[in-house]
């Protein structure tokens, strides 16, 4: 058994800081004066979250008594079991907020797609690092890896959980990139997302991005065919988005996009969430309105203020200082985790740590991006901060895996 002093305490500290901020925000969002307008099952959220945080601390510490040798070989089996559970959820699951992604286990509802993330990362990483000659440069291996991610993605989409599907999809470029996909190709496969994002605002921005990305690919990879492909893909994306916006999308879908680019267009309808979220954050100012004093939070103007818009509660009541601190803490966590990955000798540990960091990062960007209207509103929780037992537990478990691989770095390497 290793000495617990070797555990990466700075990451544990950042984790606890985020959990604490989350508890404060959830307390304010559900126990403050606002409680008078909330149904009782939501008022229980704080107590439940407190219990989940406590449980997770034991889990993270307890998990360190395992070694990667125990769970690495079990990844495929875990992946298989989770796929079966996902299908069960699809068949027998409970529907909450329109997504059928909850499985009732005893007294608690558990979101199977959360654990599916871990299973997918472990299994795909295990596959990509199982033999020395496997590289994502090889189309066959890359295809199998992508398929391992797309199967759970498809199930998540069938569960009607669009936000989580995006997280799964984001794993594809990250894992392939880490497994040897050339930089240029890696950039190429993420470029349509960026082009699409900019084109929604203005097709000219999309066009400029396409030219810029193609140029970047040429400088890095020096391959003409890839550059041309990138350019063509970019142009197709720009044109496709424009056609979709004018001819293909249904009015309610366009309304959702308009709500993002111009929330004032329908302030009481589709634009409501965005306007109220921005108002909450903006009116916080530098120091915020004070704990339990935020009018947007306490007068129930914020939707889903204990989960998707929890950052607005922080922004409103603790101001730029509070929200800035939250963002810096996340940044610190990401940097530390990537450093852990860099210190590993073992590719499995590297790939798993990088993938887990990417999952946290995607959640962070989409959640805060939604709340600050940088991105369209996509309902997805902020790791460790938002209310949600299974999410908190799974995120903690992912962190525990990163810590565990770091903790057992030496014997882990010998095993290889």
């Amino acid at each position: 058994m290793n000495n617990f002093r070797d555990l990466n305490w700075s990451i544990i500290f950042a984790w606890l800081v985020l959990a604490t901020i989350g508890l404060f925000a959830i307390y304010s969002a559900t126990q403050g004066p606002v409680a008078a307008f909330l149904p009782s099952f939501i008022k229980n959220n704080f107590a439940k979250q407190l219990a989940w945080v406590g449980l997770s601390i034991f889990l993270v510490i307890g998990f360190q008594f395992f070694t990667p040798r125990t769970y690495m070989p079990l990844s495929y089996m875990f992946y298989g079991i989770m796929l079966i559970l996902m299908i069960c959820t699809l068949l027998f699951g409970a529907e909450i907020n329109g997504a059928k992604s909850w499985l009732r286990i005893g007294p608690a509802n558990f979101q199977t797609s959360e654990l599916m993330k871990i299973a997918t990362i472990l299994a795909t990483a295990h596959y990509l690092t199982s033999r020395r000659d496997i590289s994502a440069e090889n189309i066959r291996y890359a295809f199998i890896a992508v398929l391992m991610i797309l199967i759970p993605t498809a199930l998540v989409i069938l569960q009607n959980d669009f936000g989580t599907a995006i997280v799964f999809l984001a794993l594809i470029p990250v894992m392939l990139f880490w497994s040897g996909l050339p930089y240029g190709v890696s950039i190429y496969i993420v470029s349509p997302a960026l082009t699409l994002y900019l084109t929604v605002f203005d097709w000219k921005l999309g066009a400029i991005a396409t030219i810029f990305i193609s140029a970047l690919i040429f400088f890095i990879q020096k391959r003409v065919w890839l550059t041309v492909t990138s350019l063509i893909t970019g142009i197709i994306t720009v044109i496709g988005v424009n056609i979709a916006l004018t001819d293909i999308l249904q009015p309610h879908q366009i309304a959702r996009i308009t709500a993002f680019t111009n929330p004032a267009f329908d302030p009481t309808g589709a634009g409501w969430n965005v306007i109220q979220a921005k108002t909450a954050i903006g009116s916080g100012g530098i120091l915020g309105k004070g704990f339990l004093e935020g009018t947007q939070t306490q007068l129930r103007f914020l939707p889903e203020q204990w989960t998707d818009f929890v950052s607005c509660v922080v922004g409103e009541e603790f101001g730029f200082v509070g929200l800035g601190f939250l963002i810096i803490t996340f940044l610190f966590l990401f940097m530390r985790l990537l450093n852990l990955a860099g210190n590993h000798k073992h590719p499995f540990a590297q790939l798993v740590t990088v993938s887990i960091t990417a999952v946290f990062f995607i959640h962070f960007v989409i959640n805060i991006g939604s709340a600050t209207a940088l991105l369209p509103v996509i309902g997805i929780p902020l790791p460790f901060v938002s209310y949600g037992g299974s999410a908190f537990l799974t995120n903690s478990l992912m962190l525990a895996i990163c810590l565990n691989m770091d903790f057992h770095k030496r014997d882990f390497s010998i095993y290889r």
């Binding site: 307008f37 590289s135 994502a136 440069e137 990139f177 880490w178 497994s179 040897g180 930089y183 306007i275 109220q276 921005k278 108002t279 909450a280 954050i281 903006g282 009116s283 916080g284 100012g285 530098i286 009018t295 947007q296 007068l299 129930r300 103007f301 922004g315 101001g319 730029f320 929200l323 800035g324 963002i327 810096i328 996340f330 940044l331 990401f334 940097m335 990537l338 450093n339 990955a341 860099g342 590719p347 590297q350 990088v354 960091t357 990417a358 990062f361 960007v365 805060i368 991006g369 600050t372 940088l374």
Partner: protein, 617 residues
């Protein structure tokens, strides 16, 4: 290239750190932009979100009579409100039971409220009695979505009907609130009478209170920062010139009749009583509007909303003769001593019948016995000497044919023709003496309202002063300061006192020896007056009587106009004399006349010397 080379690993880590660092930096910048650069915008937005302005209705000003008797005040009314989204239709039977109304009515009202808005609170039933209100209040917990509200309605504490004086209130419509900045949709505003004319005075200022509200619109009490709140300012009280006791008495006398009564102080123009009959019940239009009643008064053939005292336009008949006399004297056509022979007819193109006994008539005689010949003669001279327009101008100084500025809506200006008017009416050169001659006896195109005849009489008996008829003489602000309205009095410069003495004597003699003597004279009061008849092609003639008393120093002018009442001497005259007696003595001595008026039936009686004009067909 090995995928596991430490070089690639290091580069990749740095690349990822750069991407994540950049993303965090962009987000941090965005948060900085929202919270620090755009703070002012969002701070205001946030504040607006959570504050709601609530208006507090001011108490409407009170209305008093000349003796400071309270005529109109406010009374709380109790309403049950509904917020349809929170209301369960299964509770309709319970609610109907508590309110004591049929299920079907409540069902209909709930549906109406739901059509208006599912989310906004609206009034379900207003003006319910306090006992029912308490019952609903006690059971509110069983009725989610039902609320209660107390507001006010006009209350009329005296027996006075006064519908045409006070007027009624109704909820302002789109047109109203677009015209005035101080009126909001749904405010109750004056729609007729003093309530309309003094709307701005009576209304008061809305109070503003700031409430803290949540996203669901629920109020959470006063906003902590109350700097901008304003308490409501009560509307100004108005003191009218009405004598409530006299008004009630006049209303009693006019019950069951159709016409108008005006009692006026001839020296100031202050209206002491003003009755238009039939009246409507202004009480039925306060609080919950009785829809059937509202439709009835709007469509009934007797037109109860029509103010006959000030809006009707009828030939004044012989009541016009005193003014004709004054003009005849002024133009030098006759003198007080001039005698004119009445043969029973005045013949000019055609015969005009004169019902007065044949013989010689001075002006006094002619007024006392209502001889047509005398005044046809005067009009004849005016017309033939080309002084029609002078005549018209002089008569207008007595308030006829011009708008009078009484503080009531829809007063009629009447008609006093001149050549311009006749040209318009008949075409240039298409009118002649035959159209003008009967102006001299107040017939033909000459027309006036009872108020105008009272005004004319006042100017004759007050020594030749123009007056402005009015109902309000003082306005009391909420802080207790009282502003008196200006008394307008202006000498008519061309009138000499002997003109007035002559016609006044004639009017006195009309009561003593002429048509007014039976019903018009009162013991110990020297009343003077002049009857008149306006021919009505559709039925009994309309009767006029204008009178004043005491003769030497007139304190009151009473003008009565009765539609389809037949002879004025037994219809309009007794009403006027009773009102004068009541006003000057405080009580009436002649109960038989009082009973006669109450049980009056119109009758045309050709034996009395009253009919001025008979078409000689």
């Amino acid at each position: 290239m090995s995928i596991h080379s430490s070089n690639r690993t290091r580069t990749s880590i740095i690349a990822l750190q750069l991407i994540m660092g950049l993303a965090c930096f962009i987000i941090l910048g965005r948060v900085f932009y929202l919270q620090i650069i755009q703070y002012d915008i969002y701070d205001e937005l946030g504040e607006k979100n959570s504050i709601r302005q609530e208006y507090i209705e001011p108490a409407r000003g009170l209305i008093y009579d000349r003796n400071k008797t309270l005529l109109v005040d406010n009374q709380p009314i109790y309403s049950v409100t509904i917020t349809p989204i929170d209301f369960d239709n299964e509770n309709i039977p319970l609610l109907a039971d508590l309110l004591g109304e049929p299920d079907s009515l409540i069902n209909a009202l709930v549906n109406e409220a739901r059509r208006y808005s599912r989310f906004r609170t609206s009034k379900l039933l207003t003006d319910i009695d306090f006992k029912t209100f308490s019952l609903v209040q006690e059971n509110l917990w069983r009725l989610p979505g039902i609320g209660h509200q107390i507001d006010s309605k006009r209350n009329y504490p005296t027996e006075m009907t006064g519908s045409h004086i006070f007027g009624y209130l109704r909820e302002a419509d789109k047109q109203d609130y677009q015209q005035s900045e101080s009126i909001r949709l749904g405010d109750k505003i004056g729609k007729s009478g003093l309530e309309l004319i003094y709307q701005d005075t009576l209304q008061g200022d809305l109070g503003i209170n700031y409430l803290k509200v949540n996203a669901l619109g629920q109020s959470l009490g006063d906003f902590p920062d109350q700097r901008n709140s304003q308490p409501p300012v009560q509307g100004d009280n108005i003191y009218t010139t009405i004598d409530a006791e006299l008004q009630i008495f006049a209303e009693q006398l006019m019950k069951g009749k159709s016409g108008g009564v005006v009692a006026m102080n001839p020296k100031t123009g202050a209206i002491l009583a003003l009755v238009s009959s039939p009246e409507y019940e202004v009480r039925k239009l306060a609080g919950r509007i009785d829809k059937e009643y509202w439709q009835f008064i709007n469509s009934d053939s007797t037109r109860p909303l029509y103010n006959r005292a000030i809006s009707s336009r009828q030939p004044p008949g012989s009541t016009f003769k005193p003014l004709m006399g004054i003009i005849g004297l002024h133009l030098g056509i006759v003198t007080p001593k001039t005698e004119i022979y009445n043969s029973g007819y005045y013949i000019r193109g055609r015969p005009y019948k004169d019902l007065a006994e044949p013989g010689n008539y001075t002006m006094e005689d002619a007024i006392a016995h209502s001889s047509n010949t005398y005044f046809l003669h005067v009009m004849d001279k005016i017309a033939t000497s080309g002084k029609l327009n002078t005549w018209s101008k002089l008569a207008k100084d007595f308030g006829l044919g011009i708008p009078n500025k009484i503080d009531l809506p829809s007063a009629n200006r009447g008609i006093l023709p001149d050549s311009t008017y006749l040209n318009q009416r008949f075409g240039k050169g298409k009118w002649g003496l035959g159209d003008i001659l009967n102006f001299g006896i107040g017939q033909g195109l000459v027309s006036a309202s009872p108020l105008q005849i009272a005004q004319m009489t006042s100017s004759i008996v007050n020594g030749g002063y123009k007056i402005k008829p009015h109902l309000v003489h003082a306005i009391e602000k909420a802080d207790g300061t009282i502003n008196y309205t200006d008394n307008f009095v202006e000498k008519i410069d061309w009138v000499q006192s002997y003109y007035l003495e002559t016609v006044k004597n004639g009017m006195r003699r009309n009561v003593l020896e002429g048509s007014g003597q039976v019903y018009g004279s009162v013991k110990d009061i020297e009343i003077a007056g002049k009857t008149g008849t306006a021919q009505n092609p559709l039925g009994f003639s309309h009767g006029w009587y204008t009178s004043f008393a005491p003769f030497n120093d007139p304190e009151v002018v009473v003008t009565v106009f009765l539609e389809n009442a037949g002879w004025a001497s037994r219809s309009a005259v007794p009403i006027a004399s009773l009102i004068i007696e009541k006003y000057l003595k405080g009580e009436i001595s002649r109960n038989w006349i009082y009973n006669h008026v109450l049980t009056f039936e119109p009758r045309e009686d050709n034996s009395e010397a009253e009919l001025e004009v008979i078409e000689n067909e």
